[in-house]
């Protein structure tokens, strides 16, 4: 009976060490502060109606970004704790126990990959992809909302161990078996990891399907596939990767959970469990996953360099094929993550050579990016700073990648800090720089005012210099034989000075983040100064600039004509004027169902972690009931009449839309 009601919950689950107590108090204070703020300013109905239940992709995108920013602070805090420990733990245990240290880098990895990088990309895609293809909404607006809230519930679950449990996985971000099996990890930490990935993975999968269908089906008339902007193309590639790879993650972690919960033996050391299978499966998902993190950034940089060079992207067709080639090849390289497992030389060489092949399309992209600037009229705005910084870093990261693609070379750097430096080069220098560039670039479109150029450039320099100071020492430490994930070491290894240098780099990056926080606050305060009334602040080329800033919820009153892959540039060249003939538009209503389902999913996830059977039943029944209730809702859309659109368009008070821009 006790197990039915409480499962594995005991009084030990209540916070009783400094970091869980601290985390719990912090979470409670934040929650109280938000509730108090909303109550005092009487904004409950506003936040519910305008934001939480919204199905407008621009608002969902903004919510993704707010959520990812919050998680980013958590991830950076983890990073700081890891760095601090490693800087001081020469010949001593430092200030963390081994187990606690391992939990911190595990949560750092999971949070940064699933909730920060992917969250930001989904946010940017929500902002921009529908606008770029001339669509008024995504294909499945409700799924979009559900995807967001499932991701958020996964994010809450990954932090929930602070409040109940006090233990997170200490296995590394992939929950590598057999280390994540009950034999070595009896606590609930791994279950928290599994179920937060299940929830957010489901959210990502739904978002992936949604964007794929949107890009395939909802393009405006005239926009053929080869007229799609490169950001949309790269997003499409990333979505194909998500759809084909994420079910593998779901299945693999589910098998691990079966092992842990029902005593099965998929990946255990004994009873014919196959630990090597886990590595194959998780990396079959994991390698496409790391490309999911960088491919959208490639697309954003293509847009940015072409816009600020006032020049068409060099080699558009090559760029499209390069993206497709990278997408395809990314399925065929997973084994390079464990060359040292003892697969034969022929197998190893195959995966090594395929990995090297990726350098070809990547090289084509680099040449084209540089060539786009060549003979351009460059406006050196802050997104260009991020872009040039990215190019410099990307080539180093790419070189390190090809370096490790050679199996014998990998035998010497596998699991060393060299590897850590390599993938941070890619995720910081490519994905994060892309995100920052993209946010600066598209911020005026979504909010109607620019970000402060001066502060953004300052933030860039902190990040750029900080990056080199933080990660060059890690490359060197790899050559010095320093493995990743160690909580202490002997001072005779000579590693400590480099760890400390690296820590200084972290502090520089932290200053960059502080600048960015100030940048947002400053830009919001001075928004009148930075206001963009034209809808086209950068002299853009693609369709997102062909509507107001911020765009009305229906995006385009009239879908512009599309004749090439840079339709808005074409409109400006030919000095076209929009028709004034509005038509009725079908719009999607707000719905709270996404939130309700996600709350029940969270309850179910939490209950499964703790084996609380009645709560699992509550969660599952709740989800099913919500879906049934949703299926009876016949009126999810409504018609926005043409007169209403005319009124809204007039309220923007900018006269004819493209006239200003064409001048």
């Amino acid at each position: 009976m006790k197990t039915f009601f409480l499962g594995k919950l005991t009084s030990d689950a209540i916070p009783h060490v400094w970091y869980t107590i601290g985390g719990t108090i912090f979470i409670i204070i934040m929650a109280i502060a938000i509730v108090a703020y909303l109550t005092i300013t009487k904004r409950w109905s506003w936040i519910w109606n305008e934001w939480l239940t919204s199905t407008d992709p621009k608002k969902i995108g903004t919510m993704y970004m707010i959520f990812s920013s919050v998680m980013f602070f958590r991830g950076m805090l983890d990073a700081g704790m890891v760095w601090l420990q490693q800087s001081i733990a020469a010949d001593s245990q430092g200030y963390l126990t081994a187990d606690h240290f391992q939990q911190i880098f595990t949560s750092h990895g999971d949070i940064m990959v699933f909730f920060v990088t992917m969250g930001f990309f989904f946010g940017l895609m929500n902002w921009i992809v529908p606008l770029q293809i001339g669509a008024r909404d995504l294909a499945f607006p409700f799924l979009n909302s559900l995807g967001l809230w499932l991701t958020v519930s996964g994010g809450i679950l990954i932090n929930f161990f602070f409040i109940i449990g006090g233990d997170f996985a200490n296995t590394g971000w992939l929950a590598i078996a057999p280390f994540s099996e009950l034999e070595f990890n009896p606590s609930v930490g791994v279950d928290y990891l599994i179920w937060s990935l299940q929830l957010s993975g489901l959210g990502s999968l739904l978002a992936g399907i949604n964007f794929l269908v949107t890009i395939i089906k909802k393009r405006a008339p005239g926009m053929t596939l080869m007229r799609m902007p490169l950001f949309t193309w790269n997003s499409l590639c990333a979505m194909v990767l998500i759809i084909s790879a994420f079910p593998v993650l779901t299945a693999t972690t589910l098998l691990l959970w079966l092992d842990r919960t029902f005593g099965m033996h998929f990946f255990t050391t004994d009873y014919a469990g196959n630990q090597m299978m886990y590595w194959n499966l998780i990396w079959m998902w994991g390698h496409p996953e790391v490309y999911i993190l960088v491919i959208p950034a490639f697309g954003m940089f293509s847009e940015i360099v072409s816009t600020f060079s006032q020049k068409s992207t060099s080699g558009y067709i090559s760029m499209v094929w390069a993206a497709i080639a990278i997408t395809t090849l990314s399925y065929l390289v997973w084994l390079h993550h464990f060359f040292v497992m003892g697969a034969g030389p022929t197998v190893n060489s195959f995966f090594g050579i395929v990995t090297m092949l990726i350098a070809i399309p990547a090289g084509v992209q680099v040449f084209n990016w540089v060539l786009t600037m060549y003979r351009g009229k460059i406006h050196l705005a802050s997104p260009m700073y991020w872009f040039i910084g990215f190019l410099i870093i990307f080539m180093i990261g790419g070189m390190a990648g090809v370096f490790m693609a050679s199996p014998p070379a990998d035998f010497q750097v596998h699991n060393s800090l060299f590897l850590v430096a390599h993938f941070h080069t890619m995720i910081v220098g490519v994905a994060l720089f892309g995100i920052f560039a993209g946010i600066t670039f598209w911020f005026p479109k979504i909010f109607g005012f620019k970000l402060s150029e001066r502060l953004d450039k300052r933030a860039f320099w902190f990040w750029f210099v900080g990056f080199f100071v933080a990660f060059t020492p890690l490359y060197l430490l790899g050559f010095m034989g320093a493995p990743r994930r160690i909580d202490h070491y002997d001072s005779s290894t000579g590693w400590q000075p480099l760890y400390i240098t690296s820590m200084i780099g972290y502090l520089l990056i932290l200053s960059g983040i502080a600048t960015q926080v100030y940048l947002i606050i400053d830009s919001i305060r001075n928004r009148k100064l930075y206001r963009d009334t034209t809808g086209d602040p950068w002299n853009g080329r693609t369709l997102e600039w062909a509507t107001h800033s911020p765009p009305p919820f229906y995006n385009f009153a009239i879908v512009p004509p599309i004749t090439c892959h840079e339709p808005f540039w074409d409109i400006k060249e030919r000095k076209l004027q929009p028709e004034k003939h509005y038509k009725d538009i079908e719009c999607f209503k707000n719905t709270g169902m996404g939130i309700y389902i996600s709350i029940f999913a969270f309850i179910a996830g939490f209950a499964i972690v703790w084996h609380v059977i009645w709560l699992i039943i509550v969660g599952l029944i709740g989800i099913i009931a919500c879906i049934i209730a949703l299926s009876f809702d016949d009126e999810m859309e409504y018609i926005l009449p043409a007169e209403e659109i005319a009124k809204i368009e007039k309220s923007y008070g900018q006269g004819e839309l493209w006239k200003k821009q064409v001048m």
Binding site: F179, S318, G342, I353, R375, G376, V402, S406, F411, D487
Partner: protein
């Protein structure tokens, strides 16, 4: 003004490169100071690959910086050509040049991967020494089956002799065995044997360690790998044989329990076929061998 920035930037880069060179020149940079034939070949491969990549990376950097300098910073006397395109030849070059480098690297990769296959015995006139390695939580057990001895957390090998490691793990998740100055890594896994061949050039003491996360004692799972002359090695064997410790089945069971142990123990006698029994333990779960 711009010139000042340029010079500062260049200075920073030069200082950085000098710093990197100093770090790598130090003996602590284990991977670039190999002491065995395998690690030396790997370093050669690494150097070849880096040079090949630089053939394409350096011109790209020069091109990038000159474009940034001319079109972003100086902006004097530039030609604006919004429809500039490099045509078919340019496209061909763009895909072709990296492809050539990659083809060269692919051939090298194929050859070296086969040449440096860790399972491949080394060519030598001297008979290889077999060492069985068991990764335990959190200590390394080395069994010398031909000598009938075993050591904990201490590896002695004769110089200029091929060493044939056979590795497995017990009561431990996946581990990776690494002596950077002698050779690359190989995983050790329960119920399986992996193999590694290496040879030390001369006498010396090298660091070995575990490189795959396996829990609490992970960071401390290191061992010294001492390469000594044949004479010293024989003497060392005799010394170990005088040790009062024996490794019987029951002793081993105690040893295999997870605990942190960084001390060195010598075992003068080892249970017959202990290594095979450890592997077989995971083969027949119903009738435990151990």
């Amino acid at each position: 003004m711009n010139k000042k920035y340029l010079i500062t930037g260049l200075l920073v880069v030069i200082i950085g490169i000098i710093g990197i060179a100093i770090v790598l020149a130090n003996e602590n940079a284990l991977v670039v100071h190999p002491k065995g034939i395998i690690a030396k070949s790997i370093l050669e491969l690494i150097a070849t690959n880096i040079l090949l990549m630089l053939i394409i990376i350096v011109p790209t950097y020069i091109f990038l910086f000159s474009v940034v300098w001319k079109y972003c910073i100086k902006k004097e006397g530039i030609k604006y050509d919004p429809n500039h395109s490099y045509g078919k030849t340019g496209e061909l070059l763009m895909w072709g040049l990296p492809s050539i480098i990659v083809v060269v690297m692919a051939i090298i990769t194929w050859n070296f991967t086969h040449k440096l296959n860790p399972y491949k015995p080394l060519e030598s006139n001297i008979k290889p020494l077999i060492v069985q390695v068991v990764a335990l939580n959190w200590k390394w057990l080395f069994i010398y089956p031909e000598q009938g001895i075993a050591t904990l957390n201490d590896l002695h090998i004769p110089e200029q002799t091929p060493i044939h490691f056979k590795l497995t793990a017990d009561n431990s998740p996946m581990n990776s065995f690494w002596i950077p100055q002698l050779s690359g890594q190989i995983y050790s896994m329960t119920g399986m044997t992996t193999q590694l061949h290496l040879m030390a050039d001369g006498p010396g003491e090298y660091t070995g360690r575990a490189v795959e996360i396996n829990g609490e004692g992970y960071a401390g799972m290191t061992f010294p790998a001492k390469s000594i002359s044949h004479k010293d090695f024989d003497e060392w064997i005799n010394q170990v044989k005088k040790s009062p410790h024996h490794l019987t089945e029951n002793d081993y069971k105690e040893l295999a329990k997870p605990f942190i142990n960084r001390s060195v123990i010598y075992f003068s006698e080892v249970e017959q076929d202990l290594f095979q029994k450890i592997i077989q333990k995971y083969m027949y779960p119903t009738t435990p061998v151990l």
